[in-house]
């Protein structure tokens, strides 16, 4: 059985020898000897863009020019990726990023968990981790735009829909 660390009660555990390019917290460690698997958060923005593209392909998102994706990642305030490491194999299984003014507001974009890893609480852990990192930077207003099918997911994480009648709006050429 998989053992889930209590992420937010535990001190931050940095990865060290096994995967030096990863930063962040060990989320899960399988104790099974033959197929040991770890799941890590990383805040590294020197991402393998092809791994990200593969992840986005897996959930059916429209492809975006890698040049622009690279710029968006560089210019986001926070970039969180979630990785499964199994032996020598490293696989991006989740992603989220946030834009911000580095002072008051942040907006979370591009939240994705690989279909094979959904319904395991990883999306919840990813958003909680993102919130924690934003709060650590003293950001008080954390916002996002939620598709209809994930509104309840975000509600359970403490997000409020249209507070005080404030509405999300998108501009299109008129």
């Amino acid at each position: 059985m998989v053992f889930w660390k209590r992420l937010f009660n535990a001190p931050e555990t940095m990865t060290t020898a096994e995967s030096p390019s990863l930063q962040g917290e060990i989320l899960e460690t399988s104790k099974e000897a033959l197929r040991e698997s770890r799941i890590f958060f990383s805040l590294d923005r020197e991402l393998d863009l092809y791994a990200l593209e593969e992840l986005c392909d897996a959930v059916g998102w429209a492809r975006r020019p890698l040049r622009k994706v690279k710029k968006a990642i560089e210019c986001s305030f926070l970039v969180v990726s979630l990785w499964e490491v199994r032996g020598n194999r490293k696989r991006m299984i989740g992603f989220a990023r946030a834009t911000s003014d580095h002072a008051f507001n942040a907006t979370i974009w591009d939240v994705v968990i690989h279909p094979s890893f959904q319904s395991k609480g990883l999306g919840k852990a990813l958003i909680k981790y993102t919130i924690k990192k934003l709060r650590n930077e003293d950001i008080s207003n954390i916002t996002l735009f939620a598709d209809p099918q994930v509104i309840d997911f975000y509600r359970r994480l403490g997000f409020v829909l249209d507070p005080e009648g404030i509405k999300g709006m998108f501009w299109y050429p008129s």
Copy 2:
């Protein structure tokens, strides 16, 4: 009578001698000799923070620490201020800013027009100018969170409420 230049049909007019610290377009020029008045857009983020605070006070916004306001302005993607210049006197009469990933998304925050200058089309001009600048930077997804009383204002400018059921959500500690 005041003469309103057609901002978006006219080529960009840069300010020169009278107010070298201002950049942007001349929005309005009163031809009345005795109280000549010009209204300028500025993209300069070296703002007088006290002028901004005065403007925000005038619309009754809660005060925010200037240190954080300074950081938010530095770290915004776009900062637009609107100034009235009358003789030697320069006054900030409008403001808006946008966070962005510099590639796909922008979110507009802190839109304000001084009460004495409201209902003159300046808010509309400010948002149109902001949109134009974001579009010039190839940002395709322009978003904002609108208070109930300004939803129709933004709708008239081409903003769509909750497109395809996408909802604005705000996080609060649970």
